[in-house]
Amino acid sequence: MSAPMIEIAGLSVGFTGRGGATLPVLRDIDLTVRPGESLGLVGESGSGKSTLALAAMGYLKRGLRRLGGSARFRGEDMFAKSRTELEAVRGGKLALIPQNSGQSLTPTLRIGAQLGEALRLHAGLPADQHRGRVLDLLGQVRLPDPEAIFDRFPHELSGGQQQRAAIAMALAGAPDALLLDEPTTGLDVTTQAHILELLRDLAAARGMAMVYVSHDLGAIARVCDRVAVMYAGEIVLQGSVRQVLKAPAHPYARGLLASIPRLSDPALPVALGGRPPAPGQAGAGCAFVDRCAIAEPRCRGEHPALAPLPTGDAVRCHFPDRAQMLPIAGQGSASDDTRGDAPVLTLNDLSISYARPGLFDRLLGRDAAAVPTVADVSLTVRRGETLGLVGESGSGKSTILKTVAGLLGAAGGEIRFEDTLLPRVVERRSPDQLRRIQLVFQNPDDSLNPRQTVAEILEQPLKLYFGLSGQALHDRSVAILDRVRLGAHYLDRLPGQLSGGEKQRVAIARAFAAEPDLVLCDEVTSALDVSVQAAVLDLLDDLKRSQGTTYIFVSHDLAVVRALSDRVAVLYQGRLCEIGPSARVYGLPSHPYTEVLLGAVLEPDPDIAPRLTADDVVELAPPARGCAFQRRCPRKLGSICETDTPPWRMGDGGHAVRCHIDLPDLAAVLEPSAG
């Protein structure tokens, strides 16, 4: 076996808390990465995985300090190096690809200058060869038109292009090892899948070692050979990717896997209750003890060591054999069909335009943009059903929800609620109409007023719609909190004192306090960790069953939509591509865009590879004529797609696909394109 590339031994990192106590963020980490090997670091937010990756470069964020241990790169301790020595290694033989490239590239420097700087510092190349080398690197990360990218500023690139530029910058010093800190988080599914393929290919071609930090087990499954699962600043499980994802020996890893919704499984994922201890809050025993289904008194008193297993894994658990019995796949109930026939909401030819002419435009006699953001959307939501709305960023799914809620005025078409035409803006709607449609937002940090207590938050709809006061108001608030499984003691807390999952429960409780008929959910689980997401999905399903509520559920995550929805509508660039019962939309025949989306989804299973059939180009505006997907379509027929709006092709059970190609042809599987 070759010498380790990265070797972390007994590393502990912490910060000084308010009371002066030292609070650990990383506890006694041992980790080895060999040349050419790819290691995944998995964990939920706050588990210390990013801190660990940066510590491998000898870097700690402001306020953190090393409490003990070492981080060696090619045998040399990064924490023992001088500033000059560190500068020589960082970005050279050991390079980082950051989480958010949009913010990690210097905004005032052109891409060419930033890559050139990396070459100047680390490549030892004569200056006159820099430009050629930069263009070469931009080509290697498969950026179209490197010459043009060279002269661009970071903000002029799309998110995927920025990430590729950051990868090219990391490659400039011909690194032996790459550290990747959530490199695809926040990108669209198709972009993410393409970037991961690129990273796989690059690592294989250059024999680089990789440390890949992610909360997304699907991404880890795609690029890593080995995985280390982190929990509360410790490694709790380490082993081969297949072993860890298919037969993990730690209760936390099993719970995490079970809480991930799968594309192949229409059942709801199983939630993992509780939350990890804050730094310094873990007791003498196992850090996971409070959430563990098989915990025993010994787990509370005795801290388990990271012990090797016969399979070659190492696990930090007193009872790894019993842990193996815990479920790892969604065994939650499949969502019942509670649908009635009466339509609750009908959209007819809805179109929405963001552009509004300003004062100056009016003076110059200019009109608003000709192509509306959302156009020609017609759909019906029946009582008791959940309609999923999926699409990538810019697909207009949130815009449609906000229009239904009356926050944005529609430019054309009509919104019908039951039998009545709904006025376009909130100000014109009756109190009863307002009460019966409620909206839950993506990020509870933003949708809950930080200055109001939970009681005040819940009282608003109760006072406004039902005129409650005094004891009745209080009792109802308690009852509503109970419905979202929160105790009455939460009433006098402020949002800042709640966890992310608790905040989203309060936001959901506020919507249900109005006793609505239709609840609009806008990416309600996107800001949450997977284990918390599963709990919120379960809550929504439970409320639907007990209240008979109708949902429109918007998400970019196809697996989440599948788990909750009865019917699904697929949007691209504000145009409806396909709509129908979940099983039909997720099967064949599909609209080419649905096919591309589904092919790009990453499952937490190393044996399932994504099928990439189209480029991940990001379009800024929909085409003025023809099919919205014409520019990226792998099945494009020809000029008809550019000139004519495609017809709706009707399948079984209310399934409809909007395409010039007929359904039998769409059912044929398309071969993935290269690259």
């Binding site: 470069m57 870097y59 970005g91 980082l96 950051p98 913010q103 210097t106 500023f153 910058m169």
Partner: protein, 319 residues
């Protein structure tokens, strides 16, 4: 880009028009006019009527406003109520002197403020930061007449190093104002430096804690290269607008300093005009100062736009 430029120019022009209306209306609602001021005690009966007739003060306010605004556009600011001298002529020298004072204060203050702001930002919470940050609070909060008085006491009365009062006449060439101008420059530069320093410091701290500085560190870029190439071009952009506001303040708000040092600038002229109720002069000065304010801020906005690639593309994308 051109569209944006036009839009800004248009908004700036609208502001100037509104200012001129405010100025005119403000003077209009005051009791008394140019004739009452000119005639003083004798301002009554036929004498007053005749004067008003001669000055055209009997016409409706709107008509007089348009007349005044149109002449101002042509550079004709009217005549002073005291002595009937052309205001443009009176103001010319004073404006030149005020500009001289402003230029000196800026020349000293801006470079000093930027250097100190960067230094205090980079060495945040060290002794050098504590020294200058605390000093800045003192410099920016103590009223100018207080610091001026103390400086005169120390440097002029006790040490006798610098003249404590300006005796040069308004029409003298710039070179004759030295060394008398030094104390007023120091007083103004102190306040200005303090404001710009604080802004630069907090901007530097923010940028140095940002993601792209961390990325540059982890890319192996040497510290000073990070500071000069990655951090400062971003950190100093907001300084442009603060400098612009300071310039406007220098030209309009330095009345007190000019009075303390007997400096023959626009500010002292304004005070004198107000005391004498020389309303045409007050109107003219107000209009000049407001226009300078608008123009300087407009320039700063445009400069920021040109220097900040993010804004530049943002505006170019808007058709």
């Amino acid at each position: 880009m051109l569209r944006m430029l036009l839009r800004r120019l248009f908004l700036g022009a609208v502001t100037v028009v509104i200012v001129s209306v405010i100025i005119f209306a403000g003077v209009e609602i005051l009791p008394g006019d140019a004739c009452t001021a000119f005639l003083e005690r004798e301002a009554q009966g036929r004498l007053l009527e005749n004067c008003r007739e001669a000055q055209g003060l009997n016409r409706p306010a709107a008509e007089r406003y348009l007349d005044w605004a149109a002449s101002a556009l042509r550079g004709d600011l009217g005549v002073s109520a005291n002595g009937g001298v052309s205001i443009a002529e009176l103001v010319g020298n004073r404006l030149k002197n005020s500009l001289l004072l402003a230029a000196c204060a800026l020349g000293v203050g801006v470079p000093l403020a930027i250097v100190l702001g960067v230094v205090t930002g980079l060495w945040r919470d060290r002794w050098i930061d504590l020294l200058f940050s605390t000093g800045a609070i003192f410099a920016m909060t103590i009223p100018e007449f207080v610091s001026a008085t103390v400086l005169i006491l120390v440097f002029s009365v006790w040490l006798g190093w610098l003249p404590g009062i300006v005796l040069t006449s308004a029409g003298a060439p710039a070179s004759e104002f030295f060394p008398e101008i030094l104390l007023p420059v120091i007083v103004l530069a102190m306040v200005m430096t303090a404001h710009i320093l604080r802004m630069v410091r907090s901007s530097v701290i923010e940028v140095m804690a940002g993601d792209y500085v961390q990325m540059a560190t982890l890319k192996g870029v040497p510290y000073w290269r990070i500071v000069f190439r990655h951090a400062l071009p971003n950190a100093l952009l907001p300084a442009i607008n603060v400098v612009a506001l300071t310039v406007a303040w220098l030209l309009g708000g330095v009345v007190v300093v000019e009075v303390v040092f007997n400096y023959p600038g626009l500010g002292r002229m304004m005070i004198d005009a107000i005391s004498d109720r020389d309303l045409p002069v007050v109107q003219a000065i107000a209009l000049i100062v407001a226009t300078v304010y608008v123009v300087v801020n407009l320039t700063a906005d445009l400069l920021t736009m040109v220097l900040n690639p993010r804004l530049r593309t943002h505006y170019m994308r808007q058709r």
